[in-house]
Each structure stands twice: as C-alpha cells, then as structure tokens.
C-alpha cells in the first residue's frame, strides 16, 4: 500500500486512459472547501497504481440494443495495458493492447492484429462511447489544467471545481467541471467541454466500494452530449468494476503482441 502511494506513475485500467475521467479524492480543508491541489492529485491518482488486474463489465446502450461485454484488464503504470474481452461469445478473445501511444487490436475472427492508425483515434472503442484516444491519452489534471474551486454544488450536492486546459496542453477538452462529494474526497460527476466550449460528455461516478483497501467509485456512466447540448437519446456507456487488485505482480511479457494473439 505504501508503494502504491509513492507511485504516481501507475494507471489502473490500462486505460489510464480513463485516468482523466477518473477523479480523485481530496483532503478536505478545515472549514469546508477542500485544498485544490490535493484534490487534483487525488483525482489523478484515484485509479493509478504500479500495476493492476481487474474485471470490468462494460455496458453499451444504443437506441436499438444494449450490449454487455465482460473485460479483463491488466495494467502496468500509465504506459501499458491489455484488455481482453471474455464474453459474450461473439466478441470473445478480442483484445486491445496499449503501449505508450500505440494501440493494437487483435481480432480472433480474422486472426489478425491490427495497429489502429492515428486517423482512427477519435473512433469508438468496441462500439462504446469511449474512443481509442481515451485509451491512450495520458494527461494530468494537476499538470495540464488551471483549476479553481468554484464553490458548492447543489445537484449533486458537493464541491464544484473548474479545470481549464493550459494553453500548452494538446487535447480534446477545453474545460472540465468536476463535482466532488461533500467531503471533497470522491468524484460524483465530471462534465467535459470540447475545444469549442460545448458540453460533450458527462461522466457520473457512484457505487463507492473498497477494492484492495482503496475506496473508489465502482460504477462509471458516460453520457455523450450531442451538438445541441442535449444528452444523446438512448446512448450511454457504463463501466462497472467487478474486481480490481492494485499493485499485484504483472509480468512485462503480458504487454506484447504475442500475448495479445495468444489463443484464449
């Protein structure tokens, strides 16, 4: 656990990717308002670890169909992640490997590994509302954004913090608004504004559980917002951690192309 605290450079869901989306807890200030730097640091590190192994249920809601995937995820720091689809049968064995900024998909049906070209980074990952870019992006709320506590939030009740991308930061989001719980510890909601300052997605966090001694929201729901500023009809992606172990030994060889293609 101590080593965990020391290592900032670890991402859980290989998909640190999601690191950005994952808030962190904060040290509540004596008189209510939490300390902003502590908050950001905890948000950044909420899901980070030297390594992790987790099981996730990914539910993609589409207007005509809801599709649930069971994923197994191995991560090593921020740099490496392997995601393997375990169910349902149709997608079973499909796997994604991330090493740094590179992404490969292995498709059992055609028995080929394909590197995702940069032009496809904004495309959906496995039909979900997450993009390939969400998987490879590594950004830090603390380092890449200017931030301030924007006061108390009514709905949901808690603290509102506002993050504005630093001019040097290249990324999708111009602005992110977080709502933290009343203790300033865990995130409840995050609203992402694109470069044109339009609300583009809302992420909600709930079902707080303790995994491996760490208190985290086990359920994340991402709602895409269309260009009119309304939530897209019947579209949502939910991620639920069924299990996650932080700082368990994960072998380097896990994150190789041969492992990606290994018969599963």
């Amino acid at each position: 656990m101590k080593s965990l605290m020391k290592t900032m450079k670890a991402a859980i869901f290989g998909v640190v990717l999601f690191a950005l989306l994952f808030p962190a807890a904060a040290v509540a200030g004596a008189e209510g308002a939490p300390d902003i730097n502590a908050v950001l640091k905890r948000l950044d590190d909420l899901f980070r670890s030297e390594s992790s192994v987790g099981s996730v249920e990914l539910t993609v809601v589409k207007p005509r169909r809801t599709h649930t995937l069971k994923l197994k995820i191995w991560t090593q720091g921020d740099e490496k992640a392997l995601i393997v689809i375990e169910a349902p049968e149709r997608e079973k064995g499909t796997a994604t490997l991330k090493v740094g900024k590179n992404l490969w998909n292995y498709l059992p049906k055609v028995n080929r590994t394909i590197r995702i070209p940069p032009s496809m980074m904004q495309s959906s990952w496995m039909g979900s509302d997450f993009t390939n870019d969400d998987l490879v992006r590594e950004s830090s709320l603390l380092k890449d954004f200017d931030s301030r506590i924007a006061g108390r939030s009514e709905d949901p009740a808690g603290w509102k913090i506002e993050l504005t991308a630093k001019p040097s930061m290249i990324g999708l989001w111009q602005r992110i608004e977080y709502v933290l719980d009343v203790d300033g510890n865990l995130p409840l909601e995050a609203r992402f504004y694109d470069r044109k300052n339009r609300l583009a997605r809302i992420m909600r966090f709930d079902e707080v559980k303790i995994f491996n001694g760490r208190r985290i929201p086990a359920h994340l729901a991402l709602t895409p917002i269309d260009t009119d500023g309304k939530p897209e009809k019947d579209k949502q992606t939910e991620m639920r951690y069924l299990e996650i172990k932080f700082n368990v030994p994960v072998s380097d060889s896990m994150f190789s192309l041969s492992e990606l293609e290994k018969n599963r």
Binding site: K62, H67, T94, V110, T113, I114, P117, M120, G127
Partner: protein
C-alpha cells in the same frame, strides 16, 4: 433588287483589298473564338452533365433524412426490398440500385510477423450488375474481376496504401448498424479507379448482399440510385417517388438538388456563351463599321456622280448595305470553317487541360466526383447560327449610317467635294 447591284457591291469590296481583308479577319477571328471557346465549354460541361446524370448519381437519389450530412451507419433505408419494388412499378424507371456505405478499417489480410497497419476505408455494398454498366462504380471491369461472395474490389488509392494487389486478401473491421465491431477477411478480385472519389480513395466494394450480411443490415441500404428515361424529367420522377408509401419518410433528391454546385457550374455555360457572343458583336461591329465608314466617305464624289447620273438613292442604300452584308458573310464563313475544323480535330484527340496547366495526372476531384482533365470539345451548331445572326445584325446596323448619309447627298455638292 437587281443582280447588278450585288455585282457592283462585290466589286466595290475588291477596290481596297487590304481594308476589306482586315474587316473580314476581324469578323472571322470573332466567329472562330466564339465557336472554339463555346465548343470547349460544351465538351467540358457535357462530360460533367454526363457524370451527374449518369449511373453514379442517377436522376433521383433516396436516402434517410440526415444521412448526407452525418453518414452514420444507422441512418439506413429500411425495408429496402419493398421500396425497390415500389419504385420499379413506375413506368419511366430504367434502373434501381441500392448502395451501402459504412466506415471501416482495412488491413492486409496475409498473416505476417508484424501486425498489419490499418487504414481508414469504406465498405461499399453495391448492386454488381447495375454498377458494372458504363458510368457505374464497377464500370469496365470484366466479369471475372467483379466482386462476389467473399471477394471484394478495392479502390486503387486504398490498395496502394495497404500494399495490396489482386489475389491477396484484405481484413476488414467494420461496424454493424449499432456501432459494434464486425470483422472478416475478403479476397481482393481487382482494383477500381471509378468516378467516385470515395470509392477510389477508400472503397472496399462488395455485393450488396455480402455487405448486408457482414454489417448486419438485412434488407437495408443507405442510398438508392434511380435512373429514369430522361434526366430532364428528374423532377417529375422524384415527385412520383415521393408519393410511394414505402418511402414516405425518406429524403428524395434529384441530381440537381444533390449536386447544386455542379448544376450552377453547368448553368454558367449560358453566360460564357453570351460573353463570347458579345465579343463577336463588338469585333464584327468594329470590322464592318470601320470598313464601311471609310469606304463611304472616300467615295462621296462617286456617289454624287451616280446620283447626278440618275441612280436612285434607294439603290445606293442597297448597294452599300450589300457591301456590308457580303463583308460580314465572308468573314463569318471563314471563321465558322476554321472554328469548326479546330473543334472537330480536337474533339477526336481531346485536349489535356492538366498537361496544359502543368498538372500531373488526368483527373481532378470535385464535390466527391472524379472529373477528367481531358476535355473533348463539342461543336454546337446553334452557336454557329448565333454567330452568323450576330454578324448579320451588325452588318445591317453598321451600314445604316453610311448608307443614310450617301442617300441624302446633294449631287452638285458631292461632286465638288
């Protein structure tokens, strides 16, 4: 009018040959320019019109509303079979073909030691026999090169990027109507350039049925292309299709509505035609008026003499007008013959605009269509007639003033001038 007047007029033109030649040349050059420029325009715009009213675009297109802007996979026309059979009941309909367009990733399908580099692509499901006709997506492909079950035709540019040649296989990762990934391997039958930019740049072309199965789009397509008897009656055809019950929610567009920019460009042809007609008017007016004024004024004494000898002013007017008309006719005849000859010759060989402007390659992509830089000029007889008419009108007008002056001459004064 006596024949002698004509003869005298003709002879008068021969009295100052250099001046007459100059007048004839000005008119000939004007007519030549009119015919060649308009011929070039006619050829260029006609090829454009052929493309926008051909099988690639059809006379009428049907899509789900919004598809043209977003091109999302789930913006399909449902109950395709019913829609198609309803359209086919219309008597003027020549052909109906449906297409599927779905973004995908393509990669070389041969297992190699390195993972394949994927490229953005587009699965294009088509009605193979219909697209195999002239002007279609698969035009000019021999039967053995057409896509079939498990095989595809690749756009040339995509094939180059993927380093694929016919006989190899391509792995395709597409998405079904709900956006979930689907993948399969296909044999590459041949490569296609085609007149559609999407097809040559991104196309993975397969039979409609294959695409429907692969992308889980049963009885669905994104586009229906309809050819009627006559592209000029596309509006009426579209109206009749709009009243079909199976397509009441769809967006039904004529080729004009689908490609307004190209229609506007074709419309510009009328204006260029008019501009060159105006230039011809000016050239003819200058050539004839100058010649006639000069020759009338220097002949004041002669006219006075003729009048003194009893020539009626009317005959004088006819003579001068005839000189002017003959001058114009000779000029326009020379210009027409030269212009028609040049247009005919270039219409056989074609003119490579690209080469003329130093551009490599013979195509330009415009509005998603591939247009050829090679233009085959076309002689429009109408423009020859317009030119002749313009010159005749000018000849009459330009001779009016000198003829009027000559007729009003006072013989005694004129002889003394």
């Amino acid at each position: 009018m006596r024949f002698s007047t004509l003869k005298i007029a003709w002879r008068n033109l021969g009295r100052n040959r250099r001046r007459t030649l100059l007048g004839v040349s000005a008119i000939a050059l004007g007519q030549f320019t009119l015919i060649t420029v308009n011929g070039l325009n006619a050829g260029y715009f006609e090829s454009m019109l052929r493309i926008v009213t051909g099988p690639l675009i059809g006379h009428v297109q049907v899509h789900q509303r919004g598809w043209r802007e977003e091109r999302a996979v789930d913006q399909y026309i449902d109950n395709l079979g019913r829609a198609e059979s309803e359209i086919k009941t219309l008597p003027e309909v020549q052909s109906v073909s449906a297409r599927i367009f779905s973004p995908a990733l393509g990669a070389a399908g041969e297992p190699g030691r390195e993972p394949a580099e994927a490229e953005m692509a587009m699965v294009v499901g088509v009605d193979v026999p219909v697209e195999n006709r002239e002007g279609g997506i698969l035009a000019s492909l021999p039967a053995e090169d057409l896509p079939g079950p498990g095989s595809v035709v690749l756009g040339k540019v995509l094939a180059q990027r993927l380093k694929l040649t016919p006989g190899k296989t391509v792995a395709v990762i597409g998405q079904d109507a709900d956006g979930f990934p689907v993948s399969n391997i296909f044999l590459v039958k041949s490569l296609v350039k085609g007149g559609n930019e999407i097809v040559s740049r991104l196309g993975i072309v397969m039979p409609l049925k294959e695409a429907q199965d692969f992308l889980v789009l049963p009885d669905k397509a994104h586009e229906i292309v309809i050819l009627g008897n006559d592209y000029r009656k596309a509006g009426e055809l579209a109206d009749r299709i709009k009243s079909l019950p199976g397509l009441k929610d769809a967006e039904i567009l004529t080729w004009k509505e689908a490609f307004p920019v190209i229609v506007r460009m074709i419309g510009m042809k009328t204006w260029t035609d008019l501009i060159f007609l105006a230039i011809l008017f000016i050239a003819a007016a200058a050539g004839i008026a100058n010649t006639m004024m000069m020759s009338t004024f220097e002949r004041t004494r002669e006219f006075g003499m003729l009048l003194a000898l009893g020539t009626r002013p009317g005959r004088l007017v006819r003579m001068i007008t005839l000189e002017s008309v003959i001058l114009g006719l000779v000029g326009v005849a020379v210009g027409s013959i030269l212009g028609a000859a040049v247009v005919y010759l270039t219409s056989q060989t074609g003119i490579d605009y690209g080469a003329l402007s130093g551009i490599r390659g013979q195509e330009i992509n415009f509005q998603g269509l591939t247009l050829s830089y090679i233009v085959y000029p076309k002689l429009e007889f109408r423009n020859v007639l317009f030119g002749v008419g313009a010159v005749m009108v000018t000849a009459f007008l330009a001779s009016f003033w000198p003829a009027f002056l000559a007729a009003r001459l006072e013989p005694t004064e004129a002889v003394r001038a």
